[in-house]
């Protein structure tokens, strides 16, 4: 046993080292984007890349001067937030029905819902574009809210369904015995009990909607365009201005990154809810 101890220590060190390397590799693009956003265009292009440089806020100044950042940010907040709220309003009752009143076909319906995620978005681009055009909803935030909610719905329903399945049914029966109706049971018992899972589901939906680019680029031009559209607008017509592109990307990521950072405990707790119950 004693002979094993140095080996075990070495294994632990190697494991820690490997974790750090993986974490750095994953984090590196974000770090690089952040660093590049403070470089001059010249520094940004230099090869080999500079790690030491004199930082400048010039890129940010220029972006804020050229585009109305707050307009895009507000659109992102409205579309991502709206999609999250709409998605939760639909997903919670749906997951409740799937989890507590299953039928013979419940598993099939759940799988079918998930299978829609396998359809590439571009496959339905034309019909959805035409529907939006006919409903006069091109370049409208409402269209994005509905579409974001719909594309996230399968994952939301699945996640919430899994959390609900982990909650002992006895608790809901106890609430019924105590005189609670379906809505009271849902709002006063089920939702408070599963709030960790619901919060992480909502957060995931918020992040996915915030980062969604395909539909925002194809269905919006200016008035409803979110931050992803702003980032894209800096890439094509101007040629490759890495520093400005990095700056605008940083501005686009920052809010959601901060939100994710602040709620990481909740997020992890929610994702491992079943394990720590």
């Amino acid at each position: 046993m004693a002979r094993n101890r140095p080996t075990r220590r070495l294994a632990r060190t190697l494991r820690a080292l490997a974790s750090w390397i993986v974490a750095l590799v994953v984090f590196f693009p974000i770090l690089w984007m952040l660093l590049t956003s403070f470089k001059t265009e010249l520094d940004a292009f230099s090869m080999p890349p500079h790690f030491v440089f004199s930082p400048t806020l010039e890129n940010y100044r220029e972006i804020l001067a050229r585009a109305n950042y707050l307009h895009y940010a507000w659109n992102s907040i409205v579309t991502a937030g709206g999609a999250t709220i709409l998605g939760m309003v639909v997903a919670v009752p749906a997951a409740y029905a799937f989890a507590y009143h299953p039928t013979k076909r419940t598993k099939d319906v759940l799988l079918w819902m998930l299978s829609t995620k396998m359809l590439p978005g571009v496959g339905v681009l034309v019909p959805i574009y035409l529907i939006c055009r006919d409903l006069n909803m091109l370049d409208s935030r409402l269209a994005l809210v509905i579409i974001f909610a719909l594309i996230n719905l399968p994952i939301m329903v699945w996640m919430i369904y899994t959390y609900f399945r982990d909650i002992p049914y006895d608790i809901l029966e106890a609430a019924r015995m105590d005189g609670a109706g379906t809505w009271q049971t849902m709002f006063r018992v089920l939702i408070p009990v599963s709030r960790g899972g619901l919060a992480s589901t909502a957060l995931l939906c918020l992040i996915l909607s915030w980062n969604e680019a395909f539909w925002s680029l194809n269905l919006t031009t200016s008035s409803a365009a979110p931050l992803t559209a702003l980032v894209a607008s800096f890439s094509s017509p101007e040629g490759l201005f890495w520093a400005k592109l990095s700056a605008v990307s940083t501005l686009a990521c920052a809010p959601i990154l901060v939100l994710g950072w602040l709620s990481q405990r909740q997020l992890v707790r929610g994702l491992t809810f079943g394990a720590v119950k």
């Binding site: 608790i171 029966e173 106890a174 019924r176 015995m177 005189g179 009990v193």
Partner: protein, 357 residues
């Protein structure tokens, strides 16, 4: 008044009959225990009474009031679940007052009822704690407290002690008995533990395969079981069942021994003699009469206050004998046992009792 009457109750799940026609009357203020092995339908019957399952056929009457199809929350019953089923996000106080708040009771009467229940169950120091900060026994008491504050017409307990360890189970059992005396309420209690049933019940209903086998006071069931199932289910260790054939009103065991029962048996064919372990005793050597059996001691279980000796009797089978705590013989030895036939039961081929002590 809370008298519960069940008439021809039936329930099936996906084509399988689970409750096959149950008739039972539970009198006002009675403590009735549903006892049976797992899967016998006792919990389902309780859930049908509670309204948590829909009745297929039959009636449930509460004081002659038909509640068969009444919504769960309109039945005025309270249930204590095996898993406690406390609301984990609420404090003990909130757990106990939840039903009253839903019923829009005024805050003062809610506080009074919670305080009273907390006092009865010694939960006062824990009122502001969450269930996760309580021990298993305390959680169980909160679950009971939640039922008490409701002041229901009937209390339903679904195996409430099975998640507790042995010591706590014995203690909580006493508390439930005390609670019944104190509240003087009608209680229905489901368990598979015969000790709980024997100690708590005014009357026990023994369930098997979706039917009630027998209803009676604990001692009635113990002394005069109507069939082999009831006889075997009650009693620890189990009653000994010896295969026998009736010969001219007497019984012949597999090894040829003739048993002289106090009364004549009016039956023929294959029968079973039932003798409880406490009605057998170890003797030094056979006196030649039919009531003594020679065998080999296979296992000895010493519990301190008493000893269970398992004896293998050729052509008769394994027989359990309850002996004194100071029983000294070792396994592997030859041994002689004597049946006390004044306490023997006889069952016919269908298992029905045809002779009682």
């Amino acid at each position: 008044m809370s008298r519960l009457e069940i008439r021809s109750l039936r329930k099936s799940f996906e084509g399988t009959d689970v409750i096959k026609g149950i008739d039972l009357v539970i009198e006002d203020r009675e403590f009735c225990v549903f006892l049976g092995p797992s899967g016998c339908g006792k919990s389902t019957t309780l859930r049908l009474i509670a309204g948590l399952e829909e009745v297929d056929d039959g009636q449930i009457l509460l004081d002659k009031d038909d509640i068969t199809d009444r919504a769960v929350d309109k039945r005025d019953l309270a249930m204590v679940f095996q898993s406690y089923a406390l609301y984990p996000h609420m404090t003990v106080r909130e757990n106990m007052s939840f039903a009253l708040k839903l019923a829009h009771k005024d805050q003062r009467s809610i506080d009074e009822k919670v305080a009273r229940a907390a006092k009865i169950l010694a939960l006062e120091p824990y009122l502001d704690r969450k269930p996760s900060a309580l021990s298993g026994g305390q959680r169980q008491r909160v679950a009971i407290g939640r039922a008490i504050t409701r002041e229901p017409r009937v209390f339903l307990f679904d195996e409430p002690l099975s998640n507790l360890d042995a010591a706590l189970r014995a203690q909580t059992r006493l508390e439930i008995a005390r609670l019944h005396q104190e509240l003087n309420a009608t209680m229905i209690y489901v368990t598979h533990d015969q000790v709980e049933a024997m100690t708590l019940a005014d009357r026990i209903a023994i369930f098997s395969e979706g039917r009630i086998e027998q209803v009676g006071t604990p001692l009635e069931l113990y002394r005069r079981p109507v069939n082999r199932f009831v006889a075997g289910f009650l009693g620890m260790p189990q009653m000994n069942f010896l295969a026998a054939t009736a010969v001219d009103g007497e019984l012949r065991l597999g090894n040829g021994n003739l048993l002289h029962l106090p009364t004549c048996i009016d039956a023929t064919g294959d029968l079973t003699v039932g003798v409880r372990p406490e009605h057998l005793r170890v003797c030094d050597e056979g006196d030649g009469s039919g009531e003594t059996l020679n065998g080999k001691l296979t296992v000895v279980e010493r519990l301190g206050s008493e000893t269970y000796a398992y004896v293998d009797v050729p052509q008769v089978g394994s027989i359990t004998v309850r002996a004194d705590g100071d029983f000294e013989r070792r396994a592997g030895r030859d041994i002689c046992i004597r049946l006390d036939l004044t306490h023997a039961h006889v069952f016919d081929a269908t298992g029905a009792a045809i002779h009682h002590p």
